[in-house]
Subunit: 223 residues, 2 copies
DNA sequence: CTAATAATCCAACGTTCAATGGAATATAAG
DNA sequence: CTTATATTCCATTGAACGTTGGATTATTAG
């Protein structure tokens, strides 16, 4: 009886550890972060995480085994997606815990934002209110496919690599708030730096769609 | 520039993976679960997780390296505790994700509660309201030290191994709700079974203090 | 000071895992 | 049918990890 209790417990904790094993590899975490932006084929995931296709496939298999992601086949391509928003919420949770607990991570994150582009940090609710009133322009600098899969309310899509050519579309009389995939993504930092150089008032918003949604704020999806 | 971005990203994801590495071992998860019940010396942690002292020490070192736990020395004993409630919340989060995603875990948990003791599941808010009105008696069957470190409001302490001798203290005219360390702990299940055999109306409440607190409900601590 | 206890450190063994190259499968295009 | 592309499977290698036993440190009791 007492021994069977041990067996049951070992089994229960081992099951939870399956999730832990899935998220103990930096590359797998990066893949989850990428998949928070919407479903993507293996090739694109490998390219964005800068790993070989084979390695990406192997990591995705591990994630699939833990039921954190699932696959859909369309023609020659296999599209992966998270098995639900709970996975994205979990990614936000573990990253937040790491930010709280690990000083090294705090330091590394601070270095990203030590540039002059940073004005004052803005909360999600504040941003939503100002965007609704038209006081600020919200700019989504991710690839268009990710914008389509879900974006912040009132946000306009302008991928980072098109930004230089489309400066004429941007307002000079109000602040531009650029966001991308989240705290670990550098695109919005680059965008804000570029815009500030060109004379715009631009700030980077740290949160991405996953953080936004995890905080209970609404997300728009293209039909 | 592009390459330095890769270096920064690798560093950031690697930091989060340190948390992942800390929670990819079943035994470390069990230690965290135990520490959710309050600080404990290494010896007790090893005994409760049924592992050797050395192994417990090694695992605790890993957890300390990830800054999930911290140690306090008192005489010959070293007491470990979580570095904050955020760690307990994270434990609740990863366990919930595992319950959602892994069918094996659901099945194992269902087996725990398939016994006749289970009446209807009760939400935390409901339980709190009924306990306040005195409609039910809430029984904390964990060791007294854990009760002292934090317990549900209106709960009375009666450790599982004292239960048989103290039946006279329990009411026969209203339901008894027994709880313990949480969903993976068997003490409340055993307690409810025993009480039902003895003619009491007892049910098991699945949540422990960590789950209760994570849901934003109040916890009482002995001064 | 000596003995006993609690905990950690260190070395070693076997296992598991990340990563890579080559082969195999599946689908679309010619 | 053949070729090219996308992906997965399989085998291999080197590194990291869990676990155990022996030695070591720190603290209390006698």
């Amino acid at each position: 009886m007492k021994n069977s209790g041990r067996q049951v417990k070992d089994l229960l904790y081992a099951q939870v550890a399956r999730i832990g094993k899935a998220v103990c590899s930096p590359k797998r975490l990066e893949l989850i972060d990428l998949l928070c932006q919407g479903e993507k084929p293996v090739e694109r995931l490998a390219a964005e995480a800068q790993i070989s296709l084979k390695l990406a496939s192997a990591h995705l298999k591990e994630l699939r085994l833990a039921h954190l992601v699932e696959a859909r086949k369309e023609g020659k391509h296999v599209y992966y997606r998270l098995t639900g928003n709970a996975v994205a919420d979990f990614w936000v949770a573990i990253r937040s815990l790491a930010e709280d607990r690990l000083l090294d991570l705090q330091a590394a994150l601070d270095k990203l934002t030590e540039h002059p582009s940073q004005l004052q940090p803005l909360s999600g609710k504040e941003l939503l209110a100002r965007a609704r009133n038209g006081e600020v322009m919200v700019l989504d600098v991710r690839p268009t496919s990710e914008y389509a899969a879900g974006h912040l309310p009132y946000a306009q899509s302008m991928p980072l690599d098109e930004l230089k050519k489309r400066l004429a579309e941007l307002p000079r009389d109000k602040p531009i708030v650029a966001y991308c995939r989240g705290p670990f993504c550098l695109m919005a930092v680059e965008a804000a730096e570029l815009l500030n150089q060109k004379g715009f008032q631009a700030i980077r918003f740290e949160e991405g769609v996953a953080e936004w949604r995890a905080h209970g704020l609404p997300v728009e999806v293209e039909q």
